[in-house]
Each structure stands twice: as C-alpha cells, then as structure tokens.
C-alpha cells in the first residue's frame, strides 16, 4: 500500500514491535549495542563526528545541528554537566514524543547515555509533561530495568563511565518547551525563559553546562551509530537529513503518526499517506509547526518538506504537528484559535509577547465579529511583525506566524469578513444566521422543541421562524430538521 510504501521508520523503528516494558525485547533488536560500541571502541570525539557527519538536526523544531550542540557542551570545562531530554511536548496536535516514550523508552535512555559519554556528563534528566502518565510509567520501568542490567549506573559495560537518569515533571506550561524555561522549571522555578547567550551548553541546569535535545532527536542517535553517518545522510534533502515523524490529524481520512524521509512533498503526505480529505471535501490548508507555524495552501502542496523550505513558505517544521483543514474551516478563526493559545501560554515576562499577542487576539476577535475595518488589517500585520521581531524567546518570536501566514495566503477571507461582513466558511457565529425556508418547512415543531433558547416560533403545520436576536447559533435545529428546511446564510 502506498500508505506504508512512502514511509521509513527510524525514530519509530521499535514502536509497536516490542514490548516497551521488557528491556530484553529492546536488546534483541540491537538495543544498547550502539552504547556498548561507543563506550568500548570509540572516543567521544569520534562519536560526535559521526553525529555531525550524519547531518542530524534537532527534531524539536529549531533544527540546530545536533552534533555541533554536543561538541559545544563537550568543550566547556566543568565538574558536573547534565544531559537533558526535552519531553515537554506542548504543541497541540503533536504526539510523536509521547509515542516514542510509550513505545520505545529504552532508545531515549541509550541515546542520553551516549550523549553523556560524549559531553562528559554523568547525570541525565528527562523533563516530561505531567499530562503523559503512561509515558512516565514506562520510563520508570525502563530506568529500573536498565539499572538492573548495568546499562545505567556505575561502570557501564565494564568501562569507567557512569551515567544515571532521573525524571522531572512539567506542570502544564507550553513555554517550558523552550530550553532556558525548561531548565528553570526543572529547578523548581516559574518556567520563564532567559536571554541567550549564555546558552545552556555553557550555563544550564544549576548553572552547569547542559545539553538539551528532544525525544525524537535522541531516538535517531542509536541507529545512526549502528548504521553509520553515510547511511543516514543518504536519506533526505541536501540540508535536512534523515526522516521526520509527523502527527497527521484534522480532516484527513488516515490520522496518526507517520515517518517519512525529509523531502517528501505535502501532497504525498496528505493524499497518498493520509488518504485525502475526509468526506470528499475540498482541501483548503495544512497547518504545520503548531502555534509557531503557519497555514500552507494548495499552492504549497508540491514543495518538499524540510526545515528550510517550510520556513521559506512562511511556516516551520516545529515538532511535526500537521493539521489538515477543509473548505469548512475559517482561516481567520484559525488564526484566532492559535492566538488564544499563545495569549494563554505567554509567560508574561516580556511585553511584546504579553501585551502584543493579547492585542492581536482582540483585533482578530473584532474581525470575526464582523466589526473589523481595513485599517485593522494593516494594524494587525504591523503589530504581528513587531511582536515577531522584539519578543524575548521563541514563543513570542513565532506566535504571529499563524496570523501572518493566513493573511498572506487567505487575504480574501479576511477581506470578506471586513468588507462584506461575511464568513465564507460559515464558521464565525456572529456573521451567520440560521434561516427557515418557509416552503420546505412542514411545521412539525421539532426545531422549536430542540432550541435551547426558545428562539423558534410558529404554529403546528405552519412554517416556523427563527428570531435571529435570540438565536445562539448552536445549530441544533438544523441538525434535527428532517426536511432540510433550515439553512445558514
């Protein structure tokens, strides 16, 4: 099937194939072989060279070269260094990290130990969302089993290398996915980001050099060491190597996790693997990169997916959420939805993000109420650019992307809201009315009975009428009408 043919599983190689609560099953599939080989046959520099040559870039969204990050942490002199795994998967619509942690926890532990060997750290910390109880349970089991087998702890594989891993829990703050905020949260503080430099590789957890990588990045490491940098770099595009896991969701027929080589086109992902749009509707947009990303259109379907192409198109890779939207989705509402998220999740430390996003949200709200003006549109774009340019951390620097990308690609929808007072997708409640077609209505009274606010009046067997002022636009009447007599205008 095409659905499977186009996929290559590297990060997800073991998910669903092994019992994640049994270390033996991981070991049978070459688990911990990369760590053993690195510790006994390779110097830390050699391992870092392999990672560098593989071209692996951070899968959390930033796309920073992983080998380079490791080297930077290695070069700093310190008594104690830390290896951190960022498992604070906060992007709504992304769940690849959860799947890896639940399906293959040992691969993360193995990669963290390899990282510890390379950077000179003896302690690993996994910062994981409290919303993922099963992943936490499986990680705890995995850590215990690895300790029992001597794969974590003192003198691993009979060498003098010691490494252990502990869990740290998040508490529901999206901004903690940003590495400096994450480190503060691990220290028991409010998860507010700080200006970089200093980068965590110089001064991170407890002021010590800290290497932070994302779950999916780690899941690639053992395979790269086993199969070699050349093998890995043969997959993908010139600047983005290997595969990427995407969480395909929204209005497509096949939802779920997919892993495809970098360079696959959006069309292949949505139509070949995703099986096209649900209920035979028309494709409208695909949102990548979560609240930091943008909405791409029909015109972008044939670009090949990699870090740089997505940024050039006004979106970004992000952690790999991919939400497909059809003709019924209103792009202004979509931008408003993301801004609502950002306003809620902004930590409030810097004013562009704290105040700017709130104002952006209010402007979008005005537009979806049909009260926006053309001037609002230019103000919206202006402010979005200011927030983007002046915010302290990645959250604020990318939060206007959903606004800017929808304005670039769907300006006609904004214009329809502002100039005609209409929502072309019929999603903005304030801009639509439910109307009863008097010719089709037989006066069965069903609609009047289901209306929660008694906005429908009419005698039995006579055409009914909806009082638009009282109507809350819940749509219950339309759902219930057996004669198709109710429509939206």
């Amino acid at each position: 099937m095409v659905k499977y043919k186009k996929q290559i599983r590297i990060a997800l190689r073991n998910c669903g194939f092994i019992n994640p609560e049994n270390v033996d099953e991981y070991i049978v599939r070459e688990g911990y072989a990369a760590l053993g080989n690195a510790l006994t046959n390779m110097t830390p520099e050699e391992v870092i060279d392999v990672i560098k040559n593989s071209g692996l870039r951070g899968r959390g969204g930033g796309g920073f070269p992983t080998g380079l990050k490791w080297e930077l942490t290695r070069k700093v002199d310190a008594d104690q260094k830390y290896v951190v795994c960022n498992a604070d998967e906060g992007d709504p619509g992304a769940f690849m990290d959860r799947s890896i942690l639940e399906g293959d926890p040992h691969t993360v532990l193995e990669a963290m130990a390899i990282n510890g060997y390379c950077t000179g750290a003896s302690k690993g910390l996994i910062y994981i969302r409290a919303e993922y109880p099963l992943a936490i349970k499986r990680l705890k089991i995995a850590i215990d089993q690895a300790r029992e087998y001597g794969l974590l702890g003192e003198d691993i594989f009979g060498t003098n290398f010691s490494f252990d891993v502990e869990l740290r829990y998040g508490a529901g703050a999206f901004v903690c996915g940003e590495e400096t905020a994450l480190i503060h949260s691990m220290e028991g503080l409010r998860g507010e980001p700080t200006v970089k430099p200093p980068f965590p590789s110089e001064s991170g957890y407890k002021g010590m050099p800290t290497n932070v990588n994302n779950v999916e990045t780690y899941a690639n490491i053992p395979v790269i060491l086993l199969k070699g940098a050349d093998w890995f770099s043969s997959i993908g595009t010139e600047k983005s190597k290997g595969t990427k896991v995407f969480a395909l969701a929204g209005k497509v027929n096949n939802v779920g996790l997919i892993e495809v080589p970098m360079g696959t086109t959006l069309r292949e992902v949505i139509f070949d693997i995703g099986g096209g749009i649900k209920d035979g509707k028309k494709f409208k947009a695909v949102q990548t990169g979560g609240p930091s990303g943008g909405c791409l259109t029909e015109n972008h379907l044939d670009i090949s997916i990699d870090y740089d192409n997505l940024i050039a198109s006004g979106s970004m890779m992000g952690s790999g959420g991919m939400i497909v939207m059809d003709e019924d989705d209103c792009m202004v509402s979509m931008a408003k939805f993301y801004l609502d998220f950002t306003v809620e999740e902004s930590c409030g430390k810097c004013s562009p993000c704290r105040i700017g996003n709130k104002r952006l949200y209010e402007m979008l709200d005005t537009i979806t109420q049909g009260k926006g003006t053309l001037e609002d549109l230019s103000k919206l774009r202006n402010l979005a650019n200011v927030v983007k340019d002046t915010s302290l951390c990645g959250l604020g620097q990318t939060s206007p992307n959903p606004v800017l990308s929808t304005m670039d690609n769907f300006l006609d929808e904004y214009m329809a809201h502002v100039k005609d007072g209409k929502c072309p997708s019929g999603q903005c409640k304030a801009l639509m009315s439910y109307i009863i077609n008097a010719d089709a209505c037989v006066g069965c009274t069903l609609c009047a009975r289901v209306c929660p606010v008694d906005a429908i009046s009419g005698e039995k067997k006579m055409a009914h009428l909806i009082d638009d002022d009282a109507c809350i636009k819940c749509g219950a009447c339309m759902d219930k009408c057996k004669f198709g007599a109710i429509f939206i205008q």
Partner: protein
C-alpha cells in the same frame, strides 16, 4: 514578618492532621530541597485535591522558601489549581486537531447541560469542566477525559450519556 505555620493555633488550621503529616513526609523524602518544589506540589495536589493557601504555606515552610515563591509557581502552571475540582473532573481537549473536529461544540454542550462555565464546579461538587491543551490522542479527536477515563470521537449528542455515567 511572615507568619509561619508553626505560629498558628491549631484552630486556625483547617487541613486534616493525617494529610498534613503525609505532605510533610513527602517534603522529607525530597530532603526539603526547594529545587523539587514542582514535584512536591504535584504530590500535595494529589493528597488534598487542590492547593489552597494553607497548603502552599505549609510547603513554603517545609522547603524553606517564601510563600510568595510557592504562590508564583502554583499560579504559573496550569496543572495546579487553587479551586477544588469536582468529584468527576471533565476536561475537553482544545488542541488543534480536536478543535478542527468540533471540540468547541462538545464543550458548549457540557457547559449547557451542567450550567457551569469553564473552570467552574457544579454546586453539588460532582462535576467540574475545564479545557485541556492536547492529550496527544489526536487520532481520536475530539477527545474528552473524565478523571482518568478517555472518551474519543465525542459528538455533542454523546455528552448527555457521558454525564449520565457518573450520576
């Protein structure tokens, strides 16, 4: 001067003695290290169900940090609540995938049937309604959780039945 818990008369303390001891034991298990504040607060919320001012004061005292510091952390993270949740906490996922597949209508139906707003608890204390940011079950969108139980592909018509299960 900060009024510490030890300065209170026993009559001032509304918390049950056995739970206070349980929380103190938790703090001791973390060596009273303020770096583990978030872990301690998770445990405290498990013990008491929420984090009222008295609990925060107790934690501050045990970890030797100011109450303001604890309050700052509690109010920063959405997982911590200073209001008691209902016996059956209902959370509607408002992640993008759920939103696109109609989570808002599901949420509206819960609000309507229980006559509460988001973040509120019914007067009899049995249900509370809140929004969640993605539980990572986007394939099942829209998703609702009641306590530990997850409901997938929920439609507004299912809401009545879900509530009835807990009545």
């Amino acid at each position: 001067m900060t009024k510490h818990l030890k300065d209170y008369n026993m009559a001032d303390i509304k918390l049950p003695e056995n739970k206070i001891q349980e929380l103190k034991d938790v703090c001791a298990s973390f060596n009273h290290d303020s770096g583990d504040l978030i872990h301690v607060l998770h445990a405290a919320q498990n013990i008491f169900g929420y984090l009222p001012a008295e609990v925060q004061e107790l934690v501050a005292n045990e970890l030797n940090v100011s109450v303001a510091h604890v309050y700052g952390v509690v109010t920063f993270y959405s997982f911590f609540s200073m209001i008691p949740k209902g016996k059956h906490p209902i959370s509607v996922c408002m992640g993008t995938a759920c939103y696109v597949r109609g989570a808002e209508k599901v949420l509206d139906e819960f609000k309507r049937l229980l006559s509460v707003k988001v973040g509120e608890t019914t007067p009899d204390g049995s249900f509370s309604v809140s929004c969640l940011r993605c539980v990572g079950a986007c394939g099942l969108a829209p998703v609702v959780t009641v306590g530990e139980k997850v409901y997938g592909r929920v439609s507004p018509e299912d809401v009545k039945g879900i509530i009835a299960e807990y009545k």
